[in-house]
Symmetry: C2
Subunit: 220 residues, 2 copies
């Protein structure tokens, strides 16, 4: 049916906007982690800029969604796809915000390192997991891969384990002072939240790329 084709086409354009956002959110956390570990201000700026772009990109996605609804008058099932797109857009924007928080901690401590040496390995690992998570969502959106959910949960478990390790180090024998402990706790929290948003995104992305095969995504 022509109406169906037009709806699918507009939904594809919405998905295109989300792919751009997911790629930007992936770069944002990579740049933030790199700046943190290499003490490089230029890379921190790139992370902050990417976060700003995500805000703009989210507005584009929302405008496309509103237009789609107004023009296509979707039925309830299709409307769930639109709502899923909006939620993915919101999560991806927030991931940019969290990457920016990581970069800002680096900037605030510069030229001193924000991450004391005993923590660099665990923080680097958190950065790697966060980037891998976001990259998987980007790829799933691009390739319309629906087998995403379980993989993300495993990565998220890894992130939670890393956060516990980080806290154990900070709360153990810690000679680096209270300020560094507070920064470390906040960094841990930002990476963990970033991963949570990816997992949220993943549920909706699976629903979205499947084209809505009955039933809403699982409750968060």
């Amino acid at each position: 049916v022509g109406v169906r084709a037009a709806f699918d086409e507009q939904l594809d354009s919405l998905r295109g906007g989300l792919i751009v956002m997911a790629a930007t959110a992936t770069s944002a956390i990579r740049w933030a982690s790199d700046s943190l570990l290499n003490l490089d201000l230029a890379t921190a700026s790139q992370a902050l800029e990417a976060a700003g772009q995500l805000t703009d990109q989210r507005w584009v996605v929302e405008a496309r969604a509103s237009e789609l609804v107004a023009l296509q008058q979707p039925v309830a099932t299709d409307m769930r796809l639109v709502v899923a797109s909006l939620r993915v857009g919101a999560d991806l924007e927030r991931m940019g915000g969290l990457a920016a928080h990581v970069a800002k901690i680096m900037v605030r401590r510069h030229p001193a390192p924000a991450v004391p040496t005993p923590l660099t390995a665990v923080v680097a690992a958190m950065g790697t997991v966060a980037e891998r998570l976001a990259w998987k969502v980007t790829r799933a959106l691009e390739l319309r891969d629906t087998r995403l959910g379980a993989e993300l949960e495993r990565d998220d478990d890894e992130m939670d384990a890393l956060q516990r390790r980080l806290f154990a180090l900070v709360l153990g024998n810690w000679p680096h002072g209270v300020a560094a402990a507070v920064d470390a706790a906040l960094l841990g929290r930002f990476y963990e939240r970033y991963a949570d948003h990816v997992v949220n995104t993943g549920k909706h992305v699976t629903f979205l790329v499947a084209g809505g095969p009955g039933g809403p995504p699982a409750a968060e």
Copy 2:
């Protein structure tokens, strides 16, 4: 027109769901703060339960929104009201999550106090501001008051000032150890994020209770 009346009625029902959520989010942070300062486990459970209710309530709001769109086929302007409702629902649910985080810090330290004596005044003030913010949104939804925005910004500035005071205390002469410092930093972050979500909510609430007087809410 009949169609318009039906749309307005369903939009009112959506707003009703948001009022319930806003009231629950207000209670959640009050209970969380009370449990934190009075070391009362029962009040902490109430906060955790309220957070769970907010998740359920958000699903109700989303179901009503999907139904509204499917039945009423709103034009783009009205669609923006539906999207605003979804965003308010998302923020209110997250406020419940943050209240739960506050309560969980209390539970984890119990029977020891999570907040050392020098911090109780500033943490109590953060709790008061958070509750007041959420209560204002609840009232604005109920009374359809559109003068909300500026007031919320002022309260949010107060929250930011309190958070800076909290961090200054923790990073100053701090004899309470690293664990208490980390808890304090996280508590500060949770209250600040709670307030941020209220401010986000406020923008959309103003748009929502005005019934959509042209133009989307201001960028976040």
